[in-house]
């Protein structure tokens, strides 16, 4: 077994300017008067875990628990303030479906652009093009600007591109809520298949039912602290119990 993701003592502090300085003038004035005050906000506090090849892991927790920050650090979008994250392999982020699409380009053109954003060459996308389009069931509309797609169509195309490109780790951030029942079922099938192929899945959600179904292991974060890390069923139950306790 090899470690696909190693998070070692990861801490993330955000420095928030007390009052946002949005203009150069304000900034200079404050700099001169030494009034640039900052406050520190800790989004992640000394979090460590390892994820092995072929594992399906969920990150769960309330809003503001640090799930998305952790995901951003893993994806390389942000650097941790302290500690380190090592990722051994390529990541296919299932980015908020369609974030990389240009509405004025056609579906076809967007497949290549999106592929390039995920780090894939034109040729590689060409080889996978037909499969991507047929999986998204968009053959008829592929030469129409994405601007006129429905949100379901955009979600299908985004999912199809992200899951057809070669990557060792699939990162899914609460995107499956969009799309109808059929699409969701297809997504779940596809993810199960990827897991069988030995890919690693990192899933972020607060839907414990979905987590139990898709993942074997769950990591529970709360206010940046690691609360529990273990079998999905146990961690999810503990999380729900704790939530109930909070309500009372």
């Amino acid at each position: 077994m090899s470690n696909m993701i190693e998070a070692n003592n990861v801490s993330m502090h955000f420095i928030m300017e007390q009052e946002r300085t949005n203009t150069l003038k304000e900034y200079m004035v404050k700099l001169v008067r030494r009034k640039l005050r900052f406050s520190r906000f800790t989004a992640l506090d000394n979090v460590s875990f390892n994820i092995q090849r072929g594992e399906s892991v969920a990150l769960i927790g309330q809003n503001g628990s640090g799930k998305s920050t952790m995901l951003k650090i893993i994806a390389g979008v942000m650097d941790a303030t302290e500690g380190s994250v090592r990722v051994n392999g390529s990541i296919a982020p299932l980015i908020e479906l369609g974030a990389g699409f240009d509405p004025d380009l056609t579906g076809r053109e967007n497949v290549y652009l999106n592929g390039a954003l995920l780090g894939h060459k034109h040729r590689y996308m060409q080889e996978n093009y037909d499969e991507i389009v047929s999986y998204a069931e968009l053959e008829q509309f592929i030469d129409v600007p994405v601007r006129s797609y429905s949100s379901g169509m955009i979600a299908r195309l985004g999912f199809s591109i992200a899951t057809h490109v070669q990557a060792d780790i699939l990162v899914v951030d609460e995107v499956l809520a969009v799309g109808d029942y059929n699409f969701q079922r297809k997504c779940n099938q596809r993810m199960s298949r990827m897991l069988k192929e030995g890919k690693t899945l990192l899933f972020v959600s607060h839907d414990t039912k979905l987590v139990k179904r898709l993942c074997k292991r769950a990591i529970w974060l709360d206010h940046g602290h690691l609360m529990a890390d273990g079998p999905a069923r146990e961690v999810c139950d503990a999380y729900r119990e704790w939530m109930k306790g909070q309500e009372q």
Partner: protein, 260 residues
């Protein structure tokens, strides 16, 4: 992570720059009737307007004024357009930068490069003016691309700085419009450098944009190869701006995520 890693990643994502340039070019004239023809037509029309204005209102004693104008205008317009577009490159791609890792300099660089491609099309307009004004063609004119490559580096450097600054300080976007206007008057595009007093001309000659325009004009108007110091100055200034831009951008990029 360090700048060396970032340079490596940029090279690995070079094809993304290609895709982004393709996108810009496709969208630029999509849904317009004349399409790419505009890249040819636009400079010719602008040159005609300037010619009318400056031949009646101010008279400069310049040989082959149309060609003089369009050479300066091609260089300056490319600089103006590319840096203005690059300035918004990070801001406008913010939703993406929050989700996926991509070397960030890809975005301003792609914008400068797509403007460069359209500028290359506009060179046809220069050629047309050359034919119409019966310029004597010389072999030395084939060197025309060298000053333009300097220009590409210069604009890329400025574009990277602007794109980074605009993330933190939106003021830059307002200020830059005024700055380009100042630069336009400080660059002899429609007037000869002899028209300004020597005390000012001394500074204008230091303007890297003018040093590039000078090389380009000498080649295109007279087929003369300018002396080595002029080449060295233009090359040095452009390269220095590119290096400075890369370093400053690398310094700023780590903070983007907190502002976008």
């Amino acid at each position: 992570m360090g700048i060396i890693h970032e340079v490596k990643m940029t090279v690995r994502y070079a094809h993304l720059i290609g895709e982004l340039v393709k996108r810009d070019l496709k969208l630029k004239y999509r849904r317009s009737f004349l399409g790419y023809f505009w890249s040819l037509l636009n400079p010719l029309m602008m040159m005609s307007v300037m010619m009318v204005v400056f031949s009646y209102m101010f008279r400069f004693n310049i040989e082959n004024y149309p060609l003089y104008l369009i050479c300066g205008q091609t260089v300056f317009n490319f600089f103006n357009e590319s840096t203005n577009k690059a300035m918004y490159a990070i801001l406008e791609n913010a939703p993406l930068l929050k989700k996926v890792y991509v070397p960030k300099c890809v975005f301003p660089l792609a914008r400068v490069l797509s403007c460069f491609t359209t500028m290359a099309l506009s060179l046809l307009a220069v050629l047309i003016v050359m034919i119409f004004t019966r310029v004597q063609f010389h072999l030395s004119m084939l060197l025309f691309f060298v000053p333009l490559v300097f220009l590409l580096f210069f604009a890329s450097g400025v574009g990277m700085i602007l794109s980074g600054l605009a993330v933190k300080f939106q003021d830059v976007t307002h200020l830059y419009g005024v700055l380009t206007m100042v630069l336009m008057y400080a660059t002899p595009i429609f007037y000869p450098i002899e028209a300004v007093p020597e005390s000012v001309a001394r500074f204008i000659r230091l303007n890297p944009l003018y040093s590039i325009i000078y090389l380009f004009r000498e080649l295109m108007l007279y087929g003369r190869i300018p002396p080595a110091p002029n080449w060295l100055y233009a090359a040095g200034a452009s390269l220095a701006m590119f290096v400075l831009g890369s370093l400053l951008f690398d310094h700023m990029r780590k903070d983007f995520i907190y502002y976008i």
